[in-house]
Symmetry: D2
Subunit: 143 residues, 4 copies
Amino acid sequence: MKECEKKVRASFARQGLMTTLGAELVSVAPGAVEIRIPFHASLSQQHDFVHAGAIASILDSSCGYAALSVAPADVDVLSVEFKVNLLAPAVGDAFVARGTVKRAGKKITVCAADAFAVRGKEEKLIATMLATIMNLPAAGVRR
Amino acid sequence: MKECEKKVRASFARQGLMTTLGAELVSVAPGAVEIRIPFHASLSQQHDFVHAGAIASILDSSCGYAALSVAPADVDVLSVEFKVNLLAPAVGDAFVARGTVKRAGKKITVCAADAFAVRGKEEKLIATMLATIMNLPAAGVRR
Amino acid sequence: MKECEKKVRASFARQGLMTTLGAELVSVAPGAVEIRIPFHASLSQQHDFVHAGAIASILDSSCGYAALSVAPADVDVLSVEFKVNLLAPAVGDAFVARGTVKRAGKKITVCAADAFAVRGKEEKLIATMLATIMNLPAAGVRR
Amino acid sequence: MKECEKKVRASFARQGLMTTLGAELVSVAPGAVEIRIPFHASLSQQHDFVHAGAIASILDSSCGYAALSVAPADVDVLSVEFKVNLLAPAVGDAFVARGTVKRAGKKITVCAADAFAVRGKEEKLIATMLATIMNLPAAGVRR
């Protein structure tokens, strides 16, 4: 396993929310991260679709980890902001979020991510995110 | 209880994700909704702050329900998109999201929401959202 | 010239701001529109870069016209909202915005667009937009 | 005139686009800036409303200058990203954008701004922005 993947997997494992959502880190490549959640009723909104907040959560993590995957070793990342468009109801057996780096800077990295509903072998685009991530010294994340 | 509050409370009770996050619907007034989650490690990101996705989830629901609270009786709402700025680490005993209607239209309602971290009697602004919500016939939400 | 291109070109010609910015409609294909502005000092911000608002203007028009290019003949479009990330200073001889349809719906179309600074034969990505566009009856745009 | 206002007015005077749009810097207070444009056909979109890009331009500048007004003396600002919701057609005699600081940080300042259409003595809310602005050493803005 490459260093960048190790760093991402170690961080992902510390995200309690990803466990709560049932999320799995499917793949980590430099600048590209995929996260998956199976459908579960505990993630629903009022129409039994998966809640936009759950989809936004895996999109946000996929963006943050795409940024982290290309950051220097001693750097950690924090989300500054993100925007998500919900394109279709989140209905399916599972949902994947694929984050990629749009531009990596010294201070700021901008990522884009798409989310898909999976039914059998088919994928349908259901959401898209544009996110701004800040680089921070790994030791310096203040509470 | 007013009709608009009944409708919002009934819909909120159907959101599995709100139960999963431990969220409570604190108050519903016409055009203004407050949702609260206590801190829990199951909501964390890698620095033990609450994950941006959990904060976005209650902000999104507070916006959606603020929109629903002023919508006609036979109308349901769906989030079209939202944007959230994370202003400070989500560290606290609890977190509240307060959504308000910025402009209610026939088809589209735009809401703004702020999230605060609560420690004892103090509140600190930690995030802010701007969201676009679509009105739909209550019977016509398609899968 | 195809119908969709005619409709877009006729609408573009009515946008006073595009003339003011010196903008040219480079190409129109179904779901993809390119707009170009040459550099001019009248578009600057305080560091002599082109102002984010000028770049946002051509990105917004490229998204709106990408949406219009795939809309039914009797439909017009209005921007509901957009979000733009400025990725690098807008420095160059000219700037192009390329808008594409991400998802076309009956009521709402979501588009993405990238802007590039052009210097000689080189292009550099300087901004990216995600936009929400509403379909309206062409006869029904109210003041 | 206070130092913060001097700095903002000097920077505003250098923005070629503000002159092109006919924009005037109405007021500068610490953390709050107002910019105004009169209606002019040169700012229009296809329905003779003012183009969303022109409104976004004065909103963006009002946010940037609100951030600058509270920044240390040796700091300059650059827009990282902004999101704007268009709430009503931009129809009126003039348009004002009022930007305020939501949270000022050492590296990042987040601002919100509203735009209003003015007709006689009446104002109507037509757009709202949420913007992320980066602090930079005034000497270090690189091309």
